[in-house]
C-alpha cells in the first residue's frame, strides 16, 4: 500500500484509511522498522499501518476481506523478533536492494494478474530512462535544484511518471 498522500487539509490517518478501503492490493514495506540512532525509538508508522490494514481481513466486509497482501522486509525472518504474530504469512525479503524489491513486487503482481507483465529487468530499464528524462527536464530545462527534486511532493512525482508513460512506445 502506498501511504504517501499529500492533501494537508485532511488528517493523515483518514487519507490512509481511504487508500486502504479502495485498494485491492496492499503492499507494506516494514524494512525501516529500525533504530535511527542509539537510544532513540524506532519509527513504527509502517507496522502500525500494516496492522490496521490487516484488520480489514478480519473485521472488514465484502471486498475488504479479499484483499491481497505483500509484506516486504530487509531480511526473511527479521520481523519475527518484533511482530511474531505475522508468523505463517509470506514476508518477502529485499535485502535493502531496490532491484530485488522490484523483482519481488513484479513477481507478486504477475502471480495475481492474468495479463503477462514486463520482466523486472525491463521495468528497471524503463525506470532508468524515466529518471534520466526527469533529471533532464527538471534540472536542465526547468532550473530545479537537486534539493527541490528530493523534496518534490509524491503526488507530483506520480503525475510526472503518468505523463511520461502516456505516449511512450511499448516495446
Amino acid at each position: 500500500m502506498i501511504a504517501e498522500t499529500e492533501n494537508g487539509n485532511i488528517p493523515r490517518m483518514f487519507r490512509i484509511e481511504k487508500l486502504m478501503r479502495n485498494s485491492k492490493y496492499s503492499i507494506h514495506d516494514i524494512s525501516k522498522m529500525e533504530f535511527l540512532e542509539p537510544n532513540k525509538l524506532a519509527r513504527f508508522n509502517m507496522p502500525f499501518e500494516l496492522g490496521l490494514d490487516f484488520g480489514s481481513l478480519i473485521f472488514g466486509i465484502g471486498k475488504l476481506k479479499e484483499k491481497n497482501f505483500l509484506i516486504l522486509d530487509s531480511e526473511r525472518h527479521r520481523y519475527k523478533k518484533a511482530i511474531s504474530d505475522l508468523s505463517g504469512y509470506d514476508v518477502e525479503p529485499h535485502e535493502n536492494n531496490p532491484e530485488i524489491a522490484l523483482r519481488r513486487l513484479r513477481n507478486w503482481v504477475a502471480s495475481r494478474n492474468e495479463k503477462i507483465i514486463s520482466s523486472a529487468n525491463r521495468i528497471w530499464q524503463v525506470y532508468t530512462e524515466f529518471t534520466g528524462d526527469s533529471y533532464d527536464i527538471l534540472i536542465n530545462k526547468r532550473g530545479y535544484s537537486q534539493g527541490e527534486i528530493k523534496e518534490m511532493p509524491y503526488s507530483d512525482y506520480i503525475k510526472y511518471i503518468q505523463e511520461w508513460l502516456t505516449d511512450r512506445p511499448k516495446n
Binding site: E99, R122, Q125, G132, D136, N140
Partner: protein, 83 residues
C-alpha cells in the same frame, strides 16, 4: 508554482518518452549495464562501473546521443553529461 508552469512541465514529461536519445549506465544484478534509450537489450555489460563509463564515452559520438546518464545503484542520477 503557477498552474501554467505545472502544465508546461507535465507537457515536457509527456513528450520526453518517445523523443529520448540518451545512453544510460546503470546497476543491474551486481554488474554495470550500458543501455541505449528505447532499446530492449543492453549494448554491453561490465563488471565495473568505470569500464561501463569508458565504453559509454566511446559510444557516445557513434550513437549521436544527446546525453550520457550515469546512475547510482538505486537508479537515481549521479551524473548527466551532455555534448
Amino acid at each position: 508554482m503557477t498552474r501554467a508552469t505545472v502544465k508546461a512541465i507535465e507537457k515536457d514529461f509527456r513528450n520526453a518518452g518517445p523523443t529520448g536519445n540518451k545512453l544510460h549506465v546503470f546497476h543491474r544484478s551486481g554488474r554495470w549495464v550500458l543501455l541505449k534509450e528505447g532499446a530492449s537489450r543492453a549494448s554491453s555489460i561490465h563488471d565495473s562501473k568505470a569500464a561501463a563509463i569508458t565504453k559509454a564515452k566511446a559510444l557516445f559520438d557513434l550513437h549521436k546521443s544527446e546525453a550520457l546518464v550515469i546512475h547510482q545503484p538505486d537508479g537515481s542520477i549521479e551524473n548527466f553529461i551532455t555534448v
